[in-house]
């Protein structure tokens, strides 16, 4: 125990067998975790790390500090308990095997006397799952278990209370339509007899597999048994876009097609299953297949991004169509989009993405809005300019030629006769005595007369009144992926300029983190500068597409080898998954930037393809 196993794997499948077995137990012991809403977890947690291994201490400290958390380190069980009694923590990351007092004992002891207002989550770190489960104390005092070796991203997620990553990029179970028999869910729904749910696809079912705005515990458990391969999300009860928020809160669900069995989702869904007959179920297979094929082309960064904007881009890409608005009287803005997301969220995020050049606008319509509450559900009416009553009627003007009196028809009415109110003469002959030069609108409520009625609005949501002369308008656009957007989705952040991306430690290979950690120590102690080069390949997609994956990998390997040869002995070149890294010791950042062109030139020597290499330089300050 106590050693860090270096692994660059991101997936659960990379873990040892022991991890897997603990999963069912682990899920059963997560009631406390459920109390924390998935997306609303505020950053800046106070974390206690109880760990006796120095390298693991440093690693966790570096990782969590960079995410903005406050980290306290203790090296044994007694110190951990003391720290817990003295101070309040949000999260305790605890090695199961600790000197003096083991982790589970600490947790049990603390729980027994826990009076603190702040709920503390205990997370066990261990490679010895058997030992943990066989312990005399109730291991349910742990909220989560993190197996060693670490998946760093997973550590961050557990600490920050994020739900499981469930996307598994495997081929979809697209098989010819065949009806299952005994697989119907227990709670019979109105849509129970819809043929789609009997298809042999792997469906994520709403609301069955969901619990509020997150995935249900039962479902997560199923995920961890690694059986989860989802083809589509099946909505089995009438739902609105916000009911399906979990899709956006969980990783990689946003790229699945949404099939609505109820018809209530309208254009939010990718397929309205309520109108589908048994004979048309091929449509489902086609949809799932298309989504899958496009999903396969998405870059890993995009698939697993936490950023809602990036998710929206990915979703549009997977759906293979523009983000299209349409009229929707159920919305306050009267518009909904072809995404299972609330209108204002789509608009807010899309506006940012347009500014970044990933989406382009297509004007759809201009809506008037209520000045008081912003709703566009307005009742439009003609009304009196004086009292705002819509009870108007038209009345003719009457002009008496000989005395120049002009007024509404009613001024002249005396039974059947027309008598001038000014000169008391009877008007006998139209065109000779008088004429009717036009008409006015007269208000039945206040007797006010005007040439034209005004147009006014009444808000159906807040009943506020607005006149048309102070129009608050709101333009609605559809959004389409730009070439730049598609490029980003397919090649990840290689497309982005430097300002877009800070280095996220959790995304780095562990080898890089360990090396950076060592360099940082040297930097703080001896003031020895260093730089980390982040190398990405802009032409990866193109080369893979034109020459195959192998060809690209060969070119990349040659490039890295050349680079390694060009650099000094003490420098490190580390190959990552999507990106590669080089760590240059005792080098000034400016010096490094000046030398970049030379390095690039040397390293691309003899490489057959133009890799589109772009290099970002990170300095010690970037890791502060």
């Amino acid at each position: 125990l106590g050693s860090v196993v270096v692994s660059t794997a991101r997936k659960k499948s990379a873990g040892p067998a022991g991890t897997r077995r603990s999963d069912s137990k682990r899920s059963a012991t997560t009631p406390r975790q459920d109390e924390t809403p998935a997306l609303l977890q505020a950053p800046g947690q106070k974390v206690l790390v109880a760990e006796d291994n120095k390298v693991t201490q440093d690693l966790l400290k570096l990782l969590l500090k960079q995410r903005g958390h406050e980290v306290h380190i203790v090296a044994n069980g007694q110190d951990a308990l003391k720290a817990l009694e003295k101070d309040e923590f949000d999260v305790v990351l605890m090695d199961f095997h600790l000197p003096k007092m083991d982790g589970l004992k600490v947790a049990t002891a603390f729980r027994a006397g826990d009076t603190a207002s702040r709920p503390t989550r205990f997370i066990a770190i261990t490679a010895d799952m058997e030992g943990l489960l066989g312990h005399v104390d109730n291991c349910e005092n742990f909220d989560s278990v993190l197996p060693k070796p670490f998946d760093l991203e997973r550590v961050v997620e557990v600490v920050e209370g994020k739900p499981e990553e469930i996307y598994v990029p495997s081929a979809p179970a697209v098989t010819p339509v065949q009806l299952r028999s005994a697989d119907a869910p227990s709670g019979a729904l109105k849509t129970a007899d819809n043929p789609i749910q009997n298809l042999s696809h792997e469906f994520l079912r709403w609301p069955d597999d969901f619990d509020g705005d997150r995935l249900s515990a039962r479902f997560l458990q199923a995920m961890l048994d690694d059986a989860g391969r989802f083809d589509a999300i099946l909505v089995r009860q009438p739902a609105a876009a916000h009911d399906l928020a979990a899709i956006w809160a969980t990783k990689a669900l946003h790229v699945l097609p949404v099939i609505d069995l109820t018809g209530a989702l309208g254009r939010h869904a990718d397929l309205d299953g309520s109108k589908l007959s048994v004979g048309e179920t091929d449509t489902v297979a086609t949809l799932i297949n298309d989504f899958h094929n496009r999903r396969m082309r998405l870059h890993h960064d995009v698939l697993f991004s936490d950023d809602l904007g990036v998710k929206i881009l990915g979703s549009a890409y997977a759906a293979g169509k523009a983000i299209t608005p349409g009229y929707d009287p159920a919305q306050r803005g009267l518009v909904s989009y072809s995404l299972v997301l609330e209108t204002d969220l789509v608009q807010r995020e899309a506006a940012k993405l347009c500014d970044m050049g990933y989406l382009e606008r297509r004007f759809f319509d201009r809506f008037h809005q209520c000045g008081a509450c912003g709703s566009s559900r307005l009742h439009v009416r003609e009304e009196c300019s004086e009292c705002r009553s819509p009870g108007l009627h038209e009345e003719a003007y009457l002009h008496h030629f000989s005395c120049a009196y002009q007024g509404p028809d009613s001024d002249f009415r005396h039974g059947d006769d027309l008598v001038c109110p000014k000169c008391r003469k009877e008007l006998a002959h139209f065109g000779v005595d008088y004429d009717k030069p036009g008409s006015m609108m007269k208000c039945g409520a206040c007797d006010h007369g005007n040439t034209d009625p005004l147009v006014g609005f009444v808000c159906l949501d807040c009943e506020a009144h607005a006149s048309s002369d102070v129009p608050v308008t709101h333009d609605v656009y559809g959004y389409q992926l730009t070439d730049r957007g598609v490029g980003y989705l397919e090649t990840g952040r290689a497309m982005l300029g430097r300002q877009h991306h800070a280095l996220r430690l959790a995304h780095l290979p562990l080898e890089v983190i360990v090396a950076v950690n060592a360099e940082l120590k040297a930097y703080h102690e001896d003031d020895a500068p260093f730089v980390v080069l982040d190398i990405s390949y802009g032409n990866q997609r193109r080369i893979e597409h034109e020459h195959g994956v192998r060809e690209f990998e060969q070119a990349r390997d040659l490039f890295l080898e050349n680079l390694n040869n060009t650099l000094r002995k003490e420098d490190l070149v580390i190959k990552g998954i999507a990106y590669d890294y080089a760590i240059l010791k005792s080098v000034d950042p400016d010096e490094a930037r000046d030398g970049l062109e030379y390095l690039r030139g040397e390293a691309t020597n003899g490489v057959r393809h133009d890799l589109g290499v772009s290099v970002q330089v990170f300095t010690p300050e970037d890791f502060a």
Binding site: H399, Q406, G407, K422, P437, G438, T451, L454
Partner: protein, 424 residues
């Protein structure tokens, strides 16, 4: 030529006073009295020694409604309304009537209405004439004071405050604003108008005001007491409805005032043809109104006869009508009697009048400190000749047309359907 001039000078030098009067009788009878009132008024004006900046406290004259009636004024109505909203005394109510406009004026009114800049708007499809348009607006007016304005005029910031001030006197029914020329440099004709307006309105009406002889409240800018308007049943069929209304109010016993500090600017015609046509129309309307509709003002046996009304009627007959009619006679007489010398005498008389006019203009400029007058002074001699001779012939022609041919019946200023049933 020089011989003729020296002969004339010798002849004039040899004349006694009576001889000179015998020679220049036209000037003595028809011109000199014209100036007397002006001199008198300014003397009185100076004696009163009002402070240069008169602080007018708006006394409780009540709610003020501004009425704008226009025909095809889509371009100017918004500006006009905005300038009204800029007044130091903002109107309590603005009513605008589009009198059968064929342009976009009705649409502009709807916009103004929806923006809350005006309170009521009425737009008819068929033109009814200025009188009926104003009557329509006043049908809806709720103010105690109604101020009529023209779309194409502009108003001093304090114009509204000042024009309603005299209405604090309950006997006053109407107040006429002071009209100045906005385009005095648009051409010689416009320059002459600027001088004429200064003399005949700014100074002339100020003088008339002193002796209760303000007879016409300009259609471009006048304030009326609503109860007084109602007592005379509003405007009657035009044209010349402004003069007609003022006469009606005076006959009904109301006072009509002039307020020199209520300043309004208007564009005058800048071609001789336009000016001549305008004056033809004005003079014809004046004759029709005074001597057809309101002839009873001259009849001492009429129950409506009032001395004050007879004064301005006679003044108009003598100085305007007879003066214009006698001028050709005088010229013919001069030429027949003195031959070539007659024309020289004529010029000499006119030269004398230039001196008079210069003096009067200086007085007018003094009485109206707001107007920029300095640049106009060099045009006064030209104006003197133009006004004394050419404009007299215009008037004469207009009177003859109206009396002999009833020419105002053809004035398109009022729609034909109305002219056909007009009594006078």
């Amino acid at each position: 030529m020089s011989e003729t001039l020296s002969d004339a000078a010798t002849y004039l030098g040899a004349q006694s006073l009576m001889g000179l009067i015998g020679l220049f009788w036209f000037t003595v009878i028809f011109e000199v009295p014209r100036y007397t009132l002006s001199f008198l008024s300014v003397v009185v004006y100076r004696l009163r020694a009002r402070p240069v900046i008169r602080r007018r406290k708006v006394e409780t004259v009540g709610k003020v409604t501004v009425v704008v009636a226009g025909y095809n004024e889509e371009d100017s109505v918004r500006k006009c309304v905005l300038s009204l909203r800029e007044q130091s005394l903002p109107p309590d109510e603005i009513i605008v009537v589009s009198d059968g406009s064929t342009d976009n004026m009705p649409r502009v009114l709807t916009e103004l209405l929806s923006e809350g800049l005006i309170d009521r708007a009425h737009a008819t499809d068929l033109r009814a004439g200025k009188s009926a348009a104003v009557n329509l607006a006043e049908r809806w007016a709720t103010g105690d004071i109604i101020v009529n304005v023209d779309c194409d005029c502009s108003y001093d910031r304090h114009a509204l405050r000042n024009i309603v001030a005299p209405l604090a006197d309950p006997e006053v029914a109407a107040v006429s604003g002071n009209i100045l020329v906005r385009n005095p440099h648009a051409g010689l004709i416009a320059t002459f108008q600027a001088i004429e307006y200064l003399i005949s309105i700014s100074l002339g009406k100020q003088a008339a005001d002193l002796i209760d002889q303000v007879v016409c409240v300009s259609g471009a800018f006048g304030a009326f007491r609503r109860t007084a308007m109602a007592s005379v049943n509003g405007l009657d069929v035009g044209g010349g409805e402004d003069l007609d209304l003022s006469l009606k109010l005076r006959k009904a016993g109301w006072k009509v005032r002039f307020e020199d500090t209520a300043i309004c600017y208007t564009d005058t015609p800048d071609t001789l043809r336009a000016l001549t046509n305008q004056r033809f129309r004005w003079e014809r309307d004046a004759v029709r109104s005074r001597y057809r509709k309101h002839l009873d003002m001259l009849n001492p046996f009429s129950e409506r006869f009032r001395f004050a009304e007879m004064v301005h009627e006679i003044d108009f007959i003598v100085f305007q009508i007879i003066g214009a009619a006698i001028l050709p006679v005088y010229i013919v007489w001069l030429v027949l009697t003195y031959g070539e010398l007659g024309l020289v005498f004529m010029l000499a008389a006119q030269l004398g009048l230039v001196v008079f006019d210069m003096t009067v203009f200086a007085l007018a400029a003094l009485a109206t400190p707001k107007a920029s007058t300095l640049s106009l002074i060099f045009y006064v001699p030209g104006y003197s000749l133009f006004n004394g001779i050419y404009m007299r012939f215009v008037r004469l022609f207009a009177y003859a047309q109206e009396w002999i041919f009833n020419a105002s019946a053809d004035d398109n200023y009022v729609p034909e359907k109305v002219r056909l049933v007009r009594k006078w």
